[in-house]
Amino acid sequence: MAAEAISRALRDGALEGEHAPALTIKDSIHAPLGAFVFDHILAQLSSNISSSKSQAQLRIVDCYTDPLGWKIQLAESGIVSNRSTQNATTASLCKNVRDLDMLFSSIVELGKEVIRETKGRFAVAIDSVSEILRHASISSAASLLSNLRSHDQVACLFWLFHSDLHEMKASSALEYISSMVACVEPISNTANGKGMNSENVPLIEQNLGRGKFSVRFKRRNGRIRLMSEELHTEQMGINFVPAFEGHVTSQSLVPKVQFNLQLSEKERNDRAKVVLPFEHQGDGKPIQIYDGRRSVSESKTENKETNAEKMHVNEDSGRGEIIYIRDSDDEMPDSDEDPDDDLISDSTIFFLTVGILELLTN
């Protein structure tokens, strides 16, 4: 399942010599379910860490309560009480979200403070990057994310992003930084922009509770892997189910062109039957050598003596033989990955940057 693959990748954290895995969760106003996915990933990561030997710890850099320092200013001038900022005693309060250098320092400082004794690494979650982009340029925001991703002590990083609030270049910039992009799209195509009526209300309502969940994984060797499924909102969160076709779609990145790049069933079967030269058949029968000019059946009848002579020569010389073992056409997924990657890294401390505090109370 796509969601589980994301959780695994984040849990496994950064490998030696690599930047931390980074996930973009992308949604739009017509499929506003990104926040649910964010919460789900957060809960899964926290649960994964808690189930290991380490204890998950949650720290917050509060960029929600007073992002521009207005409340502090008003409190200092005596116009209002400082009650508004007192609720943030359990969090580190950010009073100037426009200064991303300071924000980066706050995150790293808080993270180091937490993992000081365990010497582990911490994860960072940002809700949401769209809010950051209201106060800072895309280059500053990209720099913040890139610096976090390349920091030695950051295990993984993920953020929420509303794609329709920004220009395409912002979306592209964030996707380039990410090793995984999870996109939530509407399950139903509504007649948006063509006027509201009672007929398209059920479709719009459906999009508020269900969505298509597509994930693009960028592998270390450059390959792209796509997975998709459906997500449904429920009272206590969300649930991921296989896509409408009844199975998880895992497809290679085949470009859409006017000629066919795929193989039909018959073509696959015919390919499987082709006897390659020097292929070790090892079934006790005389080795049939296909020279590429005639069909295999013709070679059987007309070249029988020649083959028999060749085999005889092979048996008599005893000096060596060519054993050709064909590579499997279907490389197993994840075959180039270290099987030890599955081990949960010790002492991964969880760290969160939150735009909305109410998440904690749930």
């Binding site: 106003i29 506003p32 929600y64 309560t65 007073d66 992002p67 521009l68 207005w70 409340k71 200013q73 008003l74 116009i79 209002v80 009480s81 009650r83 508004s84 609720n87 769209s130 209201r134 509303h162 329709d164 609030l165 920004h166 220009e167 006027g195 509201m196 009526n197 009672s198 209300v201 719009i204 309502e205 508020l208 509770g209 909102t233 009272q235 206590m236 969160g237 109410e358 109370t361 749930n362």
Partner: protein, 264 residues
């Protein structure tokens, strides 16, 4: 068919405000979007009356920022609906800020605009804090009429408007207030860059759209309302998002709401 004077009309049902408590909707932001053909001002008037007339909530306060009309305009309309805004103002239950007569910063640019906004926000927070300390307080309502004129007042800075709304929303979640804003959808229809209205739709918990009928003008039906209620998340879980669509007709003293085809 239900009029706005009767309890639990279609609009109130769609908003999900609990009528038994006479209010509800604390900690939420409600966005009203209208158009030139279908003004959404009647929704504001309806909500003012609801918030001030609830018998179970005698100490609730409405803080009203007006960029569009003078106090006399709202007073005249609400009197016809059976609500005396003058008396409510004297009783400090209706706190009216006449933003039309403020000195807008025409020379200081965005910095001056931000200072003005900080000052306005300070007044609102002070009022809400004062009200919340009173006995019997349930919640306050902050209303802004309207956002597009607010943007004009702030030298066209939609970012400052969004900052202000963010702070009002944080106040709402802290003091259990309801924030109600009115904005005009067609003002942003030709904007090439992502519209600030979309930012507000993301921020809002409830979005009410007042639009003309898809079939055009009609004498008996003045338009349609689409109410998107995103539901709320509490400790026990999240309620489902709901969307309702119904028609309305604005009369002299009230508004009628009805489902398509149900009007006799």
């Amino acid at each position: 068919m239900m009029s706005s004077n009767s309890a639990n009309n279609l609009l109130d049902e769609a908003l999900g405000f609990n009528d038994e408590c006479g209010g509800g909707g604390g900690g939420l932001l409600l966005l009203i979007e209208d158009r030139v053909e279908t003004s959404g001002a009647f929704i504001l008037h309806h909500l003012i009356k609801r918030r001030l007339s609830s018998p179970n909530r005698p100490n609730d306060v409405v803080v009203f920022l007006s960029f569009a009309h003078p106090f006399s305009h709202y007073d005249r309309i609400l009197r016809k609906m059976g609500c005396n805004l003058g008396v409510q103002k004297e009783n400090k239950r209706f706190v009216y800020y006449d933003m039309l007569n403020l000195n807008y910063p025409v020379t200081d640019g965005e910095k001056g605009a931000e200072d003005l906004l900080l000052s306005v926000y300070g007044k609102i927070q002070k009022t809400v804090e004062l009200c919340s300390s009173r006995e019997g307080y349930k919640n306050s309502t902050i209303m802004i009429d309207d956002i597009s004129l607010m943007e004009v007042a702030l030298c066209g800075s939609s970012n400052l408007v969004l900052d202000f709304l963010h702070y009002c929303y944080s106040l709402a979640t802290q003091f259990d207030c309801l924030v109600i804003i009115l904005n005009h959808e067609d003002v942003y229809s030709t904007v090439d860059v992502p519209s600030p209205l979309l930012q507000m739709e993301y921020l809002a918990n409830i979005v009410i759209k007042a639009e003309p009928l898809a079939t055009g003008l009609a004498t008996d039906v003045h338009g349609q309302l689409t109410v998107l209620n995103k539901g709320i998340c509490q400790g026990s879980g999240c309620s489902k998002s709901k969307i309702r669509n119904f028609h309305f007709r604005v009369k002299e003293n009230c508004v009628e709401y009805f489902y398509p085809g149900s009007r006799t």
